[in-house]
């Protein structure tokens, strides 16, 4: 994901001289091409993330469209008040890019995990949250973010995530994309963990359960038109994210459901538990521990349908 992000950003920066890249002493070599194309619009801001966000605000006030980049917790929670006041309150066009989101950096320990980033940022007025599921969506989400006149948080995994879309879909902020049609159960997922949902759907198919999957790449604002349709149509609606059950996609859907009566569909949520992931291990291991693998999703849905 981060490679396509760097490549696409470089392409945008070639045509759009409002784009400025701010990096928090991270991404060795990743931005070499960007630096060639726009040497005067790249700043290594060092290990000083709060300052980086404030700088981005100042540049945006002067007409630029800055993009900040570092490991997710450091470009989100580390500088939360700068995001809240400097970016959101002023409603400035700045793209905050977090790399290694969710449990992508499981091996690095809780300081580098981010299963709380969307929860924290979703409360902020004017904030838009984009959480693409594969490299194709990263490309489309970045383009949309750079066309958006306000703060956007772009939540990336690491590198090597598989393509989940067969061909480039139509992408609009706030409009989920159908990854797979189906009639019996609907999974609303966000981010690369949707790969697990696709596998679970195949397993369910073997049991004659037809699964629709939506990539909810925009976690804020939620696609409420879609939610209305889905909860009208399906008896079982599932949310899936590599993020806490509190405050993210599942949290948002649950809030919407509580506010909108009259739907008979049941909500089943998959996300990380309300605890730090202190066990050391790979991302796959972390997903296993939190019940976010295809097998767990399959079993959970099968149980709920019985």
């Amino acid at each position: 994901m981060r490679n396509i992000f760097a490549k696409e950003l470089t392409a945008h920066a070639t045509d759009n001289d409002r784009i400025v890249m701010l990096s928090g002493d991270i991404g060795n070599r990743l931005f070499d091409d960007f630096k060639k194309v726009a040497p005067n619009r790249f700043y290594n801001c060092g290990v000083a993330e709060a300052n980086m966000i404030g700088m981005a605000a100042g540049m945006a006030m002067m007409g630029f469209h800055p993009v900040t980049y570092t490991i997710t917790p450091f470009t989100t929670i580390r500088c939360l008040e700068q995001i809240r006041i400097d970016l959101c309150y002023h409603n400035l066009p700045v793209v905050i890019v977090g790399t290694g989101s969710g449990l992508s950096y499981a091996e690095l320990g809780p300081t580098h995990h981010s299963c709380d980033d969307m929860g924290v940022l979703r409360i902020l007025p004017n904030m838009t949250i984009l959480s693409p599921c594969d490299p194709i969506e990263v490309k489309l989400a970045l383009k949309a973010a750079l066309e958006h006149d306000g703060p956007v948080y772009l939540r990336l995994g690491k590198k090597g995530e598989p393509a989940l879309h067969r061909e480039p879909p139509v992408f609009a902020i706030g409009k989920a994309i159908t990854l797979r049609p189906g009639n019996d159960v609907c999974i609303l997922g966000t981010g690369p963990v949707l790969a697990e949902a696709l596998t679970a759907a195949k397993m369910l198919e073997n049991e004659c359960v037809s699964t629709r999957i939506e990539s909810v790449h925009t976690v804020k604002p939620l696609d409420t038109a879609l939610l209305g349709e889905i909860f009208n149509t399906f008896k079982l609606v599932v949310t899936l994210e590599e993020h806490s059950l509190i405050g993210g996609l599942g949290g948002g859907v649950a809030e919407w459901l509580a506010d909108n009566s009259g739907y008979s569909g049941r909500l089943l949520r998959f996300g990380t538990a309300d605890r730090f992931f202190e066990e050391i291990g790979t991302q796959e291991y972390a997903r296993e521990v939190f019940g976010l693998t295809a097998e767990h999703i399959f079993a959970g849905i099968r149980n709920a349908l019985q």
């Binding site: 290594n44 000083a48 809780p110 300081t111 790979t282």
Partner: protein, 277 residues
């Protein structure tokens, strides 16, 4: 004062380097340059300064050490193991470094490993915590020392300088910051990223007693650590001039080793250079 044979300590440091390099290869753990850069400092602290380990570990008035540059955890874990801080079964856990479910990862965790005083890994957290510990110690009437090891890139963080002013105002003369000044951060020369120098003068201007040392001279470091407090009535900043990747010619001052993991062959060459085979 501890009676110290520095030749033995130099050998200890070489062995620590060897095992950290091996572990990096085996477990795929990065930040080797960052570990090698501070191994002599850790050796001077744990063998030359913080005496009576691990017997004092349960005592509230013990000296404290915080590895604020948490990405050097692989070095810290080996130091703690050699100091006998863990029971035997935890050493098995250390041997399984890099496997799913062990306690030992890329940064020091909050729970489970004796001798790790605070979880770090997000830079710029160690000094504020150290100040809190030292102020708490003062309120309780303890005469202990608190050591915080930071990296030069870490000094980019505003929280470091907020803390520096606090410690200066509180005249925390038993608080020591050691800066592993290897002139590199993750993606560039520290001097080019943010204007760091004159580093010692910065600390002085913030109310600290500052000095510069060779960060690979275990004897000089130990002797300096043992003159805390230094009579100035101020907190102490020791700027330790170091070489990132120190001890292995093909890693020294090459910042690729911030992320790179060595091959088997490289481990062998490195161990040979360290005089371990």
């Amino acid at each position: 004062m501890i009676d110290i044979d520095y030749q033995v300590l130099n050998q200890t440091a070489a062995e620590l380097r060897g095992i950290v390099i091996e572990t990096s290869c085996k477990a795929g753990v990065p930040h080797l340059g960052s570990c090698l850069s501070c191994i002599d400092i850790l050796t001077a602290l744990y063998w030359g300064t913080l005496d009576d380990m691990p017997s004092r570990i349960g005592r509230p008035d013990r000296d404290r050490f915080i590895l604020s540059k948490g990405h050097a955890a692989p070095a810290l874990f080996q130091v703690l193991a050699r100091k006998g801080m863990f029971p035997l079964d935890m050493l098995d856990n250390l041997a399984r470094y890099g496997e799913n479910g062990t306690l030992f990862g890329e940064h020091p965790p909050a729970h489970g490993i004796p001798g790790v005083e605070a979880a770090t890994g997000s830079l710029g957290h160690g000094l504020p915590i150290g100040i809190g510990m030292k102020l708490a110690s003062r309120m309780r009437g303890y005469n202990n020392r608190v050591f915080v090891l930071m990296s030069d890139g870490e000094c980019n963080e505003g929280s470091v300088w907020e803390a520096a002013m606090m410690a200066g105002a509180q005249k925390l003369e038993r608080l020591v910051v050691v800066i592993d000044f290897n002139k590199w951060q993750a993606t560039g020369r520290s001097e080019e990223v943010l204007a760091l120098s004159p580093l010692a003068d910065k600390w002085r201007a913030f109310g600290w007693s500052a000095c510069e040392e060779d960060g690979h001279d275990i004897k000089a470091l130990s002797e300096r650590f043992c003159t805390v407090p230094d009579g100035s009535g101020k907190p102490i900043a020791i700027i330790a001039h170091t070489v990132k990747g120190k001890g292995v010619s093909f890693m020294e001052d090459d910042n690729n080793w911030h992320y790179r993991v060595p091959t088997q062959d490289e481990v062998i060459s490195a161990r040979r250079e360290l005089g371990l085979i």
